[in-house]
Amino acid sequence: MSELEVELAIRRKEENREEETETGEEIMVLNMGPQHPSTHGVLRIILKLEGELIIDAVPVIGYLHRGIEKLMESKSYHQVIVLTDRFDYLSPLVNNLSYCLAVEKLLGLEIPPRGQYLRVILAELTRLESHLMWLGSQANDIGAITPLLYTFREREGLLDLFEMAGGSRMHTSYIRIGGLLRDVPQEFIPKVKSFCEAFPRLMKDYEGLLTKNRIWQMRTRGVGVISAEEAINLSLSGPMLRGSGVKHDLRKASPYSGYDQFEFDIPVEKEGDVYARYLVRLEEMRQSINILRQAVEKLPSGPINAGVPQVVPPEKQRVGSDIESLIHQFHIMVEGFKVPAGEVYSSVESPRGELGYYICSDGSGKPYRIKVRTPSFVNLQTLAPMIKGRLIADIMAIIGSIDIILGDVDK
């Protein structure tokens, strides 16, 4: 059913000429959103209902479309980093990382080991932060309010860590082309260590509330099922794909930023329902802690930035004390740097799936075209097939399990 047909159906309803199904049931067209609390943002779903049963559903997006891709074309490569935060605002550091890796591939930059390890630490902390937010809101949507209070407590600790490192809680822009904005402060690593110590115990609290809870299982098991073939055919990625039994994780399939030096498992569940995705994400959190422990243990010392002065600005302390550094900083920030002509596609495993940047450079200081392959946009495509034939109450469980961020969907 196209959007136009739905609009027509709404209009017919207004004229009191309602459709009827074969069984004589009235068909009702219901507009859910764009402000419904369980849609996690401004998502609108046009539902065609027979009683409480969903016959057809058309998601309508674009309410948060800000034209970032167009905006990027008029910014220098350095300025684009700030815009990447705004896609998936729950995992800004992974967005920064994906973009920077793509530009670094074009430039042919090599990041020193300490920079790579710190990036991995930040990416995994982001994954935890994002999954905590997901867990809280998914449980809240279904009616369990308590997990939200717990997960926000831990999330707060993670946001404090981001603030300590990059100076900002949400729109971090901390990962830069060629490395990082600055090295982490001394107390950062011990704080990460103590977080890793405490977290597995805290996770038991969430699991105790949900995993074996009868109501939770009844609301999530067998709901929103997607088969493995369908998941691949629909280009799903991340926990959506792994929840359907496809063992695919870009951290293993095409390791970036030194992920091949860490040992971790890829959790897979076969059922393909909301419950399977829940289990996958929980296990991913445990694996993230696993990676964090190894990274903190093995964290090498040394420089964090690639030694390429054309791209990497000087240290902030030196900018205030000697004129050459000041000129250097000024030069990079105002004029930017040129990137060799060519095209590159680089993707990372974000908490939501494959986050890819396709960058076309014409050799100038501004990108010719940047296309962002945002995981939420692609994953949201499955909403209609998943909710068809289910009840309205299942929509909340299913949207929550896709884990969409509307900034990521609408770009």
Binding site: S2, E3, L4, I61, G62, H65, G67, E69, K70, S74, K105, L106, E230, I232, N233, L234, S235, L236, V246, H248, A253, S254, G342, E343, V344, Y345, S347, E354, G356, Y358, C360, R369, K371, R373, F377, V378, L380, Q381, D410, K411
Partner: protein, 153 residues
Amino acid sequence: MNRHQLEQLEQLEQLKNKFPDGVESIETRLGETTVELKKEFLQPVCEYLKKEAGLDYLADLTGLDLGVEAGPRYAVVYHLYSMQGRQRLRLKVKTSDAVDTVTPVWKGADWFEREVYDLLGIVFNRHPNLTRIYMPDDFVGHPLRKDFPLMEE
């Protein structure tokens, strides 16, 4: 050169033999392989790549405005991925107005193509529901085109 890359080379050779008129060029840069196709051959080549070369996953689909004066003005770019072989391939098709849809091959192409249609105005023939996805239905113009005005006049 690892095993996967060797396999890919063989597959590309086979692709060239199978569609001698369809493949315009094959180029590898920065470790990424781009195959440029004639647009008439897009759908058969995609079907072939999915079935024979195992490229079962459409990672990304996007469009490019090559410039107001460019010969065929637009290019549609496909990023394919193989779940088994763990390799990537980029397809590129140049067009001045329309290409065929690949939704029969990869269902996930639906929204991707709607996005390209919305923002660049490239038409996808036989697409099941080619409507705007981001911009309002009554919006005039296609924002990602290079001649789209950046400021209100």
